[in-house]
């Protein structure tokens, strides 16, 4: 405790010292870090995995306050382009990097300043889980992780000191199903277009992610084997969209969804029994007492990964505070908080310290729960004896097939997706 207090005092005095500088900054615009009392970080992101508890814990530990600027994934990217000085730290996804890095709006992050860098999971740094290579189709983090220098706009294929984003959270996504309404085992992505579920299927209407789910389906139907699902040619996009257009015209889909809550409502109301879904949406359906399974499928998962970036203009004290925040984020408490929501923390060993052993066994090792499993908000997610969908970390992340992606033919893909919606 004593250490915290002194640190806070130190922050207070030093913020007072820079008060004049920040005051001068007022003339030009809002100072990024306020001098008045606690430093405030403007945190741009979707913040779907963040809650009040995080802010409170952060303030208690470090004296730093966070102000969330909540936007959707696509809007976060847009904000980095159009208003690069409207935030102090951004929580972005790796698949945005091929678009963002050439703009020069993000700082190359210095891994030497990250205490736990050596403990960052190998899924990010090497594309391996437990020593085995995992699928790297699409924008796998390792492809867009390293930069040639701190101000570089080019990716390096070899590990370097500077990275695009400091990894924070990631997961393996799959289809969600209502086992009580389907009443038989589901084991392949192809089931999404199975006529048996006519009028009861859904896919997400966010083209860059939806296309990946669509590709998983097309490949598992045996229609086509993509060299790289995450970077389709125009012909491959045409083929994929043709199959989905036909399914749509035949009435396969009850609805598309573009908002997290829509997917929860579709599933909870039983309008849809099989659909693309995100992990917290499954949790939301289950906490209503409705059975919902995040179904592992034999073709593997579509993974995504996010991390922290800083605006290119960050320097000096502002950079110090942001790095302190990131180091705190990776120091374990948040990691455990994320793991308990069904995501994975980028630094696993520190998260383990903050989890009970029965929680660790359930979430990470895929063992049957020996006690009721609670969400960070204290809602019951699973009863004693239940096993996590998909099992252990190694079973889930080890079975990743592809990653969320930005394609070279992105513009064409968006157009074709719109055509499918209009058909």
């Amino acid at each position: 405790m004593k250490k915290n207090i002194t640190r806070r005092n130190m922050l207070k005095t030093s913020t007072a010292a820079v008060g004049a500088v920040a005051g001068a900054g007022l003339l030009k615009g809002f100072p990024a870090i306020h001098a008045a009392d606690a430093p405030v970080i403007r945190y741009l992101g979707t913040a779907v995995n963040m809650g009040d508890a995080v802010q409170k814990r952060l303030f208690d530990d470090t004296g730093i306050k966070v102000k969330f600027i909540v936007k959707t994934t696509d809007e976060v990217t847009k904000t980095i382009f159009t208003q690069p000085n409207s935030f102090d730290i951004v929580d972005s996804e790796y698949f945005s990097m091929p678009k963002l890095v050439p703009s020069g709006n993000l700082l190359g992050m210095d891994t030497k300043r990250i205490k736990e860098w050596d403990n960052v999971t190998s899924a990010f740094t090497k594309g391996e889980v437990a020593g085995k290579k995992i699928g790297d189709q699409g924008t796998a983090p390792k492809k867009v992780m390293y930069l040639k220098g701190s101000g570089s706009k080019e990716f390096s294929s070899e590990p370097t000191q500077h990275v695009t984003l400091i990894p924070t959270v990631y997961n393996a996504d799959t289809l969600g199903i209502r086992p009580d309404l389907i009443k038989r085992p589901i084991s392949t992505w192809a089931e999404l277009l199975n006529p048996e579920f006519k009028g009861k299927a859904s896919i997400l209407n966010i083209p860059s992610i939806g296309i990946m789910d669509a590709a998983m389906v097309v490949e598992s139907m045996g229609e086509y084997k993509y060299p790289d699902k995450g970077n389709m040619t125009k012909k491959e996009i045409d083929l994929t969209m043709k199959i989905f257009t036909e399914a749509k015209k035949a009435g396969q889909f009850r609805a598309f969804w573009s908002d997290f809550n829509e997917s929860v409502n579709l599933m909870a109301s039983g309008e849809v029994v099989i659909q693309s879904m995100w992990s917290p949406a499954i949790t939301a359906v289950r906490t209503k007492g409705i059975p919902c399974v995040y179904q592992p499928l034999k073709e593997g998962y579509r993974a995504w990964a996010a991390g922290f970036g800083l605006p290119a203009t960050t320097k000096g004290r502002q950079a110090d505070i942001c790095y302190e925040f990131i180091n705190w984020y990776l120091s374990g408490w948040v990691g455990a908080y994320l793991n308990r929501q069904g995501y994975y923390s980028a630094v696993i060993p520190t998260a383990k310290k903050y989890m009970e052993s029965y929680e660790w066994d359930y979430w990470m090792l895929g063992k049957p729960a020996t006690a009721d499993i609670m969400s960070p908000e204290g809602k019951k997610l699973a009863s004693k004896g239940e096993i996590r969908d998909g099992g252990s970390y190694e079973a889930r992340m080890g079975a990743v097939e592809c990653w969320n992606a930005t394609m070279d033919e992105n513009k064409y893909m968006v157009r074709k997706w719109n055509e499918m919606v209009a058909s």
């Binding site: 959707t72 696509d74 809007e75 990217t77 847009k78 382009f81 091929p98 678009k99 963002l100 050439p102 703009s103 009028g199 209407n205 083209p207 860059s208 749509k248 889909f253 009850r254 609805a255 598309f256 969804w257 573009s258 908002d259 809550n261 829509e262 409502n265 109301s269 039983g270 309008e271 992105n410 513009k411 968006v414 157009r415 997706w417 719109n418 055509e419 919606v421 209009a422 058909s423």
Partner: protein
């Protein structure tokens, strides 16, 4: 010190504040949108230029009908249909609600109270309102329960939700108020003695409605129609949620293009949408001179 109340401010001065707001927050952004619609762009920036590519892109494959109708035409056709149907129903319902409020409710208190009732659809957020349709129209919803229990149908009716029907229903439910207000306003201005005179001259109820009330309500009808049509033309949230994201709308196309930073393409689409909407309004104002009627 001059008495401020004796100075007669010029018209220009009085209209200055609103003009400034209008210029900075409407006119200039509009001009920028128009200019940017001729710019080039790549993945992460927009490049000043003077190209027609963005417009060509909107109408790509639109003039060869081998593969059926192009996305742009299909989308506009569907939007026009929604406009027409919504306009028709909001007009009929809105007119008679206004008629009731203006001629059958005599106390001002009751008129205000009933007016407030009409605003109930706006009391909750858009999202919650949309979600609330599921328990009513969904596969296991109240309407289907009723159909099944009375034996009207043997299977749940799926066209009730996530269909053109539910989109129109949501539009009518929301925007009828936009018709009621201006029509009611017009009706309140009608001199009651005209109606009495018509009645004394032997006109029946329908003749009074057709020959007196409707002609005198024209300005209200046109203003209400402009509200409804402009809102429906640009809508993408209602069509998106009630149509299950499976019905196209121009607004959605613009939204998607913007989120992928294809700003010039979005600008071109916006300019076309604006042009078409203005065209419709222009035609409507040709039918009646609002300025004169007001």
């Amino acid at each position: 010190m001059p008495n401020l109340f004796k100075i007669k401010p010029s018209v220009g001065l009085l209209s200055l504040p609103y003009s400034l707001v209008f210029i900075f927050f409407f006119f200039i952004p509009l001009v920028l949108t128009f200019v940017i619609s001729f710019w080039d762009y790549n993945e992460y920036s927009i490049i000043p230029d003077l190209i027609l590519e963005n417009y060509r892109y909107v109408f790509e494959n639109c003039f060869s009908f081998e593969n059926g109708m192009c996305v742009t035409f299909k989308t506009y056709l569907s939007t026009f249909m929604f406009c027409l149907i919504t306009w028709f129903f909001t007009l009929i319902i809105g007119f008679f609600v206004a008629y009731f409020l203006a001629f059958y409710v005599n106390s001002l208190t009751w008129q205000i109270a009933l007016f407030l009732l009409c605003t109930i659809p706006f009391w909750t957020s858009n999202v919650i309102r949309m979600i609330s349709w599921i328990p009513l129209l969904g596969r296991n919803g109240l309407v289907n329960d009723f159909f099944l229990s009375t034996g009207l149908t043997s299977t749940p009716q799926e066209w009730l939700l996530y269909s053109g029907f539910s989109v129109v229903l949501a539009f009518v439910h929301l925007y009828t108020l936009f018709m009621i207000v201006p029509i009611f306003n017009s009706m309140m201005r009608i001199d009651k003695s005209i109606i009495e005179a018509a009645y004394d001259s032997g006109a029946n109820g329908f003749q009074i409605l057709w020959n007196i009330i409707i002609p005198l309500c024209k300005p209200g009808i046109v203003i209400g129609s402009i509200f409804v049509i402009t809102v429906v033309m640009g809508d993408f949230i209602t069509i998106g949620i009630m149509g299950g994201q499976q019905i196209p709308s121009i607004g959605k196309i613009i939204y998607v293009e913007m989120s992928y930073l294809q700003l010039p393409a979005a600008a071109a689409n916006a300019v076309i949408l604006l042009f078409l909407t203005l065209l419709i309004i222009w035609i409507m104002t040709k039918m009646i001179d609002i300025r004169k009627e007001l």
